[in-house]
């Protein structure tokens, strides 16, 4: 009997709670009228950033496309005249993208970054396929300083052999020193 009473009491508490809610002001934020500023690390629309010198950061190493669980990234790498590796084309199909952010984690050059821009709804699904022109921005995104080619040992306009950060002068093969 006590159990039954307890049950009834529990039920009543529940009903009372929901009933009280009827008279409270809804806490909903109404989206298009009210837009909350999202945290910087929100994972939404992807961009390709540039290094501080304005060069494209992406070296088309294929790591993002390899790690992408839905295979929405495709690209073609090539070599520029100055020796930089770059993407001749770079395509993200946002209709497939699940905004998991693995590409950003995989990117060794801080090129691919997710931003808080999430309003990418389109009527024609093909317009959700973004090319490199659409993805490339003219800033460094979250990582303002990094410049991959200043560290990599490869010869580019950023430096020849031995001119990168933390590099010794090239070995002189003919040197008389032992």
């Amino acid at each position: 009997m006590a159990e039954a009473l307890e049950a009834i009491k529990a039920l009543a508490t529940g009903f009372a709670t929901t009933f009280k809610h009827l008279f409270r002001k809804p806490i909903t934020e109404e989206y298009p009228e009210f837009k909350r500023t999202l945290p910087e690390r929100t994972r939404a629309r992807i961009i390709l950033t540039r290094d501080p010198d304005g060069g494209e950061r992406c070296v088309a190493c294929y790591l993002c496309s390899a790690v992408c669980p839905v295979s929405c990234i495709s690209m073609q790498s090539a070599e520029k005249e100055d020796g930089r590796r770059y993407a001749t084309w770079f395509r993200i199909n946002f209709a497939r993208c699940i905004y998991c952010g693995l590409c950003e984690e995989a990117c060794p050059t801080s090129a691919i970054q997710l931003t808080a821009m999430f309003e990418t709804c389109e009527r024609d699904i093909l317009t959700l396929v973004y090319e490199k022109e659409d993805l490339l921005v003219d800033h460094g995104g979250k990582d303002k300083e990094y410049n991959f080619y200043k560290y990599a040992g490869v010869v580019t306009q950023e430096g020849g052999k031995g001119e990168h950060i933390k590099e010794d002068k090239p070995v002189n093969v003919k040197s008389n020193l032992p």
């Binding site: 529940g14 009903f15 929901t18 009933f19 809610h21 009827l22 409270r24 806490i27 909903t28």
Partner: protein
């Protein structure tokens, strides 16, 4: 000549009731969404029209325009038939609900009920049981694991609660001395039966909610276990029919609660159909409130409540009522 007028009157009555029911079903959805939202401190639909009032119409339009897919492995005929069974059986139940005593037009007495069957109550149970077919067949015909589980659960649940539902009404019949719904309403001219039979009322309303597969008794469609259960594979207007069936069912049950326990269309000042309407909405709101408060039962709990609590309680109620009536 009489029979022609009779048919015309019947058709008009049928039309009015049908349109009323469908409209009401549509707006009951709106009411439910709105009311539920407020219970959960939300706004609910508020984009289509003022207060989202056009939402049901938008939904209906959407459902009608959407592609109607039939799974390749489905039993096509049964698959197509099942939603219709659910919707029609629910609609047909309303044929015996009186929404007033009668109207006198051009000197003719027109009873405000589509048909006054002398076994109205049995008719209601018969149709209510037919609704099971819709669920069970829909679940089976989809040829999907989830649907089949949903269908089986639905059949078992409805059969179980059918019993409690029926038994809970036996005292009412005992009081009214008739199976005719009109008679039952008339028997409540002085006071509604809820005062005489509060236990029967509780048993009835619980069983009724189980019958209409509403939370906390929505095991046949349990979204998070079965992914919509018996109507997993349905889309477009066919899904709409299931949906419609559910909400018509809700109204029908509301109407029966009103008819059996709340004195039907009887009430002061306002016209009879309005009283019925108010009572239906009231019952509906209570059901939504329950939905907004209670979580879904486990399947074994559901069965336990049905067989171990409601049915014995209803039987006890019958005996007690019988004893009192005898005395």
């Amino acid at each position: 000549m009489d029979w022609i007028i009779g048919i015309i009157v019947l058709i008009v009555k049928l039309g009015l009731v049908l349109v009323g029911l469908l409209l009401l079903a549509a707006y009951l959805v709106w009411v439910e969404r709105k009311f539920l939202a407020r219970l959960q401190i939300r706004y609910g639909p508020n984009r289509a029209g003022k207060f989202g009032l056009l939402q049901p119409i938008a939904d209906a339009l959407k459902l009608m325009v959407k592609e109607d897919t039939v799974p390749e492995a489905a039993d096509r005929i049964l698959f197509l038939l099942a939603p219709a069974v659910v919707a029609t059986s629910a609609l047909l139940m309303f044929a015996v609900v009186p929404f007033g005593s009668h109207l006198t037009l051009w000197g003719k007495k027109i009873p405000l009920v589509i048909t006054d069957l002398n076994v109205g109550l049995l008719y209601v149970f018969a149709l209510s049981s037919l609704g099971v077919y819709g669920v069970a067949l829909g679940g089976w015909a989809s040829n999907s694991k989830y649907s089949l589980l949903g269908g089986i659960r639905g059949a078992a649940q409805m059969i179980s609660y059918e019993l409690a539902l029926g038994l809970s009404l036996v005292p009412i019949v005992m009081h009214a001395g008739s199976f005719s719904i009109v008679d039952i309403v008339n028997a409540q001219a002085k006071y509604p039966f809820i005062l005489l039979q509060p236990f029967a009322f509780v048993i009835f309303i619980v069983s009724a909610m189980a019958e209409s597969k509403r939370i906390p008794f929505d095991l046949p469609e349990a979204e998070n276990e079965l992914g919509a259960g018996y109507h997993t594979e349905y889309s477009g207007m066919r899904f709409g029919l299931f949906f419609l069936g559910e909400y018509v069912h809700m109204q029908v049950l509301g109407a029966f609660v009103a008819v059996f326990f709340l004195g039907g269309w009887r009430g002061p000042l306002l016209p009879a159909p309005v009283w019925l309407f108010i009572k239906i909405i009231l019952v509906a709101l209570i059901m939504i409130w329950i939905r907004g408060t209670l979580p879904r039962l486990r399947y074994d709990q559901l069965m336990a409540v049905g067989w171990k609590v409601l049915i014995p309680a209803a039987l006890l109620n019958i005996m007690v009522t019988g004893a009192i009536l005898l005395i």
